[in-house]
Point group: C2
Chain length 334, copies 2
């Protein structure tokens, strides 16, 4: 029945009925495929003891803003009938952190939630990105460090298998690694934020310029730039153990704890940075060679839940259902 | 894990994290029940040859406004990044009519779509209604009259069975019946709209006043008011066949065509009026004695699709998943 991707549609009398750029109708063939992906993921999540949570599309803008989520701020804001500022959620992690803190303030054990909901991203017209993205994912609250990270990476590997994109890879880093590496190379604390943003944009040259401006020797600039570009197996963490410090040791321990099925899907990326600034440890993106952007991602965010009143470690990930579907097709319809 | 219905939630430091009135978090026990209802309905719809369609949450406000949907106007409007007016859909029938017209402009046979999506209703604070409602339903395009109406009522009966609320009832009328009855009683054309709105609000006394003001004899006012309040089996259509005219005959033919399983769920309601003004024939609501408001509804809207450029008869219905869930509980958890 076609993919339904055009935004402008001729109608009878020469009128045009348009959809906003970056949005589209999903017609039956595709909807059936997306529903099958979601059902497969739901099976993995439920089997692992996660329970579904559904949060409102619309929340008070100042509540969502507690997430302080870097470049992906809740952008669709408007006044409701009572004059309050409402916003559409731009991801699911912030609402789920709110749920974990406010609906289960005195939970002593871990909380395991999954969701399948749409996230809304304001986009400049003509940029070609999707304005509405269906995401299915999990959040694990109350399990710190390697134990929680291991559970999430294991389930991410199981999820891509169940969704028929087992050839996807988990590109893994730690949000603190680039700080550790750049500090060791002599970058002052007040320049680390700028360097982090350049890394998030993939601009290694700018990072090297910042290092040089800070007085690092040419050889150190070169070696640091190369280290931040380094991808490989878990062994790259051992090779550079000294400069990677505690974050490197923790990531190494997490990867060692994975079973073979999960571990062979992991690629270590020393300079890996995500554009959401609530990550505090493990970070990863789900990449598929046939899709030009991540089809999912996740990480640890140990300081987000306390913004809603309760201190609780947290880690999670989500897949973009549309991205998984595109990867399925590219991979021969598996 | 509780029902999660409170809008204000205490957090640690005495702060309060609020949700907008009329919205709530749905926690795992309830989410599991809602997902099971949706899966049961999806099974009925797919089995009957309907294909799922997913439309954007956000559309251009002027596109949704072509639905001209009476009191339930798309109310959440705001400017996007390009200055265009966007709105959140307030029902699914208007977007699906748009899809049927613009994505399948030259379809010669029937189109059968189902959906399970959230509709957004601006509500005055403290009114206690739900701001976000998950609806699952079907729309049948290209099948006029009794044949299409029969399919929809049959599937509505099958849907309530599959959803575990087989004791719900389809309260059935025709959007033209009240006009026919009031015209016969002497109400002039220019007063029919006002009478229709009073009926939609259940204000029979106001309708009788309008009739009296139009010069109807007291006996006629009384008999007409009584007729509009009449509910019963299909036989009430035969009893009043003369005054009910063509709409009465058509509804009677539709009900006669139903099999016994569907027919025993039908209650005829002569004065039945829905608050959406796009209905042009059959109208019905799904009522359950344990829930104070309809848990679903539908009808025929033969003039809506042409507002998007293609003339095509149409009929459909939807269930409110939350209402079905409440009815399940009230009915003993079936």
């Amino acid at each position: 029945m076609g993919s339904g991707s055009e935004a402008a549609l001729e109608v009878g009398a020469g009128e045009v009925v348009r959809l906003p750029a970056g949005s589209r109708d999903i017609l039956p063939d595709e909807a059936r495929a997306l529903r099958a992906i979601t059902a497969a993921l739901a099976g993995v999540f439920e089997e692992a003891g996660y329970g579904e949570v559904i949060t409102p599309t619309l929340e008070y803008a100042d509540v969502l803003a507690r997430g302080d989520i870097g470049e992906v701020k809740p952008g669709y804001r408007f006044n409701d009938e009572g004059g309050s500022w409402l916003a559409l959620r731009s991801d699911m992690t912030v609402p789920l952190a709110r749920v974990a803190a406010t609906r289960f303030p005195s939970a002593s054990g871990p909380l395991r939630f999954w969701y399948s909901q749409t996230a809304y991203r304001p986009i400049p017209a003509l940029q070609g990105r999707s304005r509405e993205a269906i995401q299915a994912g999990i959040e694990l609250f109350g399990v710190a460090g390697t134990e929680g990270d291991r559970e999430i990476l294991t389930l991410a590997a199981a999820a891509i298998d169940a969704a028929g994109v087992g050839d996807a890879r988990l590109v893994v880093g730690d949000a603190r690694l680039s700080y550790t590496v750049l500090s060791a190379a002599g970058l002052a604390d007040d320049a680390l934020g700028a360097a982090h943003r350049k890394l998030a944009a993939g601009d290694f040259v700018a990072v090297e310029r910042l290092l040089a401006a800070a007085g690092a020797a040419a050889e150190s600039v070169r070696a640091t730039g190369q280290l931040l570009r380094t991808r490989g197996g878990a062994d790259v963490l051992e090779q550079h153990a000294q400069v990677l410090g505690d974050p490197g040791r923790e990531l190494s321990a997490t990867l060692s704890s994975l079973d073979a099925a999960a571990r062979r899907r992991v690629i270590v990326d020393i300079g890996h940075v995500r554009d959401l600034d609530y990550y505090s440890g493990l970070v990863f993106e789900v990449m598929h060679e046939a899709v030009g952007e991540p089809i999912g991602g996740g990480g640890r965010y140990d300081t987000l839940v306390e913004r809603f009143g309760v201190q609780r470690p947290a880690v999670g990930f989500a897949l973009e259902i549309d991205g998984v579907h595109r990867a399925q097709h590219a991979g021969g319809g598996r």
